[in-house]
Amino acid sequence: MVRARVETVTRALIRRIDGVIRRPLPVPPSRWRRGPLRAGAFTSALRSERLTSQLGLWLGIAFGICFVTGFLSHAIQHPPSWFAWPARPVGLYRLTQGVHVATGLATVPLLAAKLWSVYPKLFAWPPVRDLAHALERASVAVLVGAALFQVVSGVLNVARWYAPMTFFFTAAHYWTAWLAIGALLLHVAVQLPVIRRGLSGRGAASGADARAQAGLSRRGLLAAVAVAAGTVTLATVGQTVRPLARLSPLAPRRPDLGPQRLPVNQSAIGAGVVAAATDPAYRLVITGPAGTVRLSLADLAALPHYTLSLPITCVEGWSADAVWTGVRVRDLLALVGGPADGPAMVESLQAGGRYRTSVLDPAHVHDPLTLLALRLHDEPLHLDHGYPCRLIAPNRPGVLQTKWVGRLTAVPR
């Protein structure tokens, strides 16, 4: 009885809302319908539901990959309470972040072609039919803006060109990713029937029209977009796939170029640590439940050393293998009674900066591959690589591989 009544009321409510958002809005006078707003203003016979759906499918996959890998990278750097990032496999972050940047760059021609294919819709007449249409157009505008924002800011960040970016990149890129993925899901929900029609082979342009224009066919354009994405990838991916470095004249980094044959993201001068890092009175301060010890470079040299190969993996998409020699972090923490299952804090000699400190979670603290490295490629660390000692741990973003380490502290759980 009650249930039937609720149902009736709900139905009435839905009808009422539907009536409001579907109520036709007045059509602007037709003399305003000029330029691109005219019927037939766009003449390419190449545009079709099928082309748009296929480009959209590829683009959707690319955005999905970028969203998941980007979310991972953000969560590793700002872990929510439910999130834990393992220390193994060693190269997992290298893979996810390499894929993130490579996919983002390959998205450039995809997004361009997709937006071209739907450009006439921007000049639909009447501009808004009803409230529902207005909402849909607004959500598409959000999607287009967010997608362009992500690709443009990503390209600028890879080129380290921060001046045109009127925002803090990592925060804005992260929140815009949520905006883009949300608007994308909404867009798919709205367009699902059209997408199904397009992907099933219906909704193709008339082949005769396209042939009459003698330009690229739909398949030809898809192939050109694929070649463009492939060319961009090949020209840049050598920054992380070393065997391809010679084929990548546009790689923002070369894995073997830099002091001690390894690239640097922040120099000692840039970090303002030259004096502190070269001070003969330098001591590494280690604090734990059993107290504090201060180790000079000679003390550190007397501890057991290990040599191992670990990559530096930058959030900007480059990575490079290197051979490090140093003391295990878990051995250092054992000197001060650090618990076997707790996290630790690593602090740089830098006076400030966003990445002055980093927290090692228990999985990394106790991994035998986690070192405070004193040597790189069998030479003392270059000042720009973090002399006198730096953190190097498996499966960890470069910005968290703290350089110029001054303090190591066992953090109570």
Binding site: L105, T166, Q213, P259
Partner: protein, 137 residues
């Protein structure tokens, strides 16, 4: 399908809401700059980039003979995509003075190398098209 669409729409709206809430409450997110850049890239794309691209397409249709048109169009698609990625590198504003291992290459030369390769392939394809057109039968 209706249930799928409703679920997608709700998830999408939630994610967008989360994005707005996150951006507004994140002290690191400089909201005015964030929003103005978002509008600026969209305006630049819709009002400048695409009209120019479509104008170039119309010029191709008028001035490039039919058999060659497809090849030229495809080569332009590849060239523009490469240029979007390469030009910010080639301009070199991001090159730090204090450590040359960031952006260590000559990116103008890199861009020209890639473009030359693309147009070399396009040239070979054009010659192939021409030969095929001449062959009788």
């Amino acid at each position: 399908m209706k249930a799928v669409r409703i679920c997608l729409a709700m998830l999408g709206t939630l994610a967008m809401g989360y994005a707005v809430l996150g951006a507004v409450t994140d002290p690191d997110d400089r909201l005015a700059g964030h929003l103005s850049f978002l509008l600026a890239v969209q305006a630049a794309h819709d009002a400048v980039v695409l009209p120019v691209a479509i104008g170039v397409g119309l010029l191709l249709r008028r001035y490039v003979p039919a058999p060659a048109r497809r090849v030229v169009q495809a080569a332009l698609v590849v060239s523009v995509a490469v240029a979007v990625v390469a030009v910010p590198l080639a301009l070199g504003y991001g090159r730090p003075a204090d450590h040359p291992s960031a952006l260590p290459l000559n990116y103008l030369r890199g861009l020209l190398t890639v473009l030359a390769s693309v147009w070399l392939v396009a040239g070979v394809m054009l010659i192939g098209t021409r030969l095929r057109a001449r062959r009788p039968g």
